[in-house]
């Protein structure tokens, strides 16, 4: 990049525009198979989460979205028969979410695979750099976007690590 501050700023702006362009492309590619990006995110979450974490509350917390938004997403997936809801056998108050076989099969054509493929095409020695840069940008973006807030739900919790 140029040493001239004005030119440097313009270059940074161009980098930001590049991110904007490819993020829009990735986003638009996520409207496939009758799903939207949030629904694909939910399928990925359920595919990875351990059984105890496969609840609406944990999904909302994981993605830092409202319970109402989480509920809309999961309800749509249940209607599309990609997810099932059932009572936890150990605690009947908890509704567990699970992928159906159809939901698991659909993840084979996850649109995120396109971005993974683009990253894979980078020279091997640039993979770590891509991770570092993406991580740093993510942290900066979220530091600017997300407000600190308190969780109004108070749940009894005897787990380790509560501050």
């Amino acid at each position: 990049m140029s040493a001239d501050p004005g030119h440097k700023e313009a270059s940074l702006r161009a980098v930001a525009e590049l991110f904007d362009h490819f993020m829009r492309a990735i986003y638009s590619q996520s409207f496939v198979e009758g799903l939207n990006p949030a629904q694909w995110g939910a399928l990925r979450f359920l595919n990875r989460a351990n059984p105890r974490s496969r609840t609406l509350t944990e999904f909302a917390r994981f993605h830092m979205v409202s319970k109402s938004a989480a509920s809309d997403t999961m309800s749509a997936l249940v209607r599309k028969q990609l997810v099932t809801k059932s009572r936890d056998p150990e605690d009947g108050r908890i509704m567990r979410l699970d992928l159906t076989q159809r939901g698991r099969d659909l993840l084979a054509i996850d649109p995120l695979n396109n971005l993974v493929a683009a990253l894979r095409r980078l020279p091997q020695e640039q993979h770590g750099l891509a991770a570092d840069i993406a991580g740093a940008i993510a942290r900066n973006v979220f530091a600017g976007l997300t407000e600190e807030g308190s969780d109004s739900e108070s749940e009894p919790d005897s787990r380790l690590g509560r501050r």
Partner: protein, 128 residues
């Protein structure tokens, strides 16, 4: 029995994880930051690295990155508080992009820690 390095800047939490894993029969070595962890790894081999992500003296992500790219194949478990401004989804992607094999989010139960430790040790990536 495995030899596990725990890296955690909060003494109480480090002690809790140590007690849980020692009770399960593992040998535990402790470090309170990434730099101390690197020194421990230089002087001994381990079967698993358990590291906090947010530490004041040296970033856990940096430690994970360093260890993952040493080429040794040491399984790495990241322990994340999530970060106040960061969705857990993003924290997870950060730790895994750096090279962690699994990430456990606080708060967690002792049984969850033991289960994920067993899983990583069973994957049998060998001493490093």
């Amino acid at each position: 029995m495995a030899r596990i390095l725990i890296v955690e800047d909060t003494p109480d939490f480090r002690l809790m994880m140590r007690d849980i894993l020692q009770t399960a029969g593992h040998e535990i070595v402790e470090a309170e930051n990434g730099n101390a962890a690197i020194r421990k790894m230089e002087s001994g081999s381990f079967d698993l690295l358990v590291t906090d992500v947010l530490m004041p003296e040296s970033d856990g992500i940096e430690l994970i990155n360093t260890v993952a790219h040493q080429g040794g194949n040491l399984p790495i478990l990241a322990v994340s508080g999530g970060g106040r401004n960061l969705p857990a989804a993003v924290s997870l992607a950060l730790t895994e992009a750096a090279g962690a094999h699994r990430t456990l989010f606080k708060p967690f139960r002792a049984a969850e820690l033991l289960a994920v430790v067993d899983e990583l040790l069973s994957a049998g990536k060998g001493k490093n």
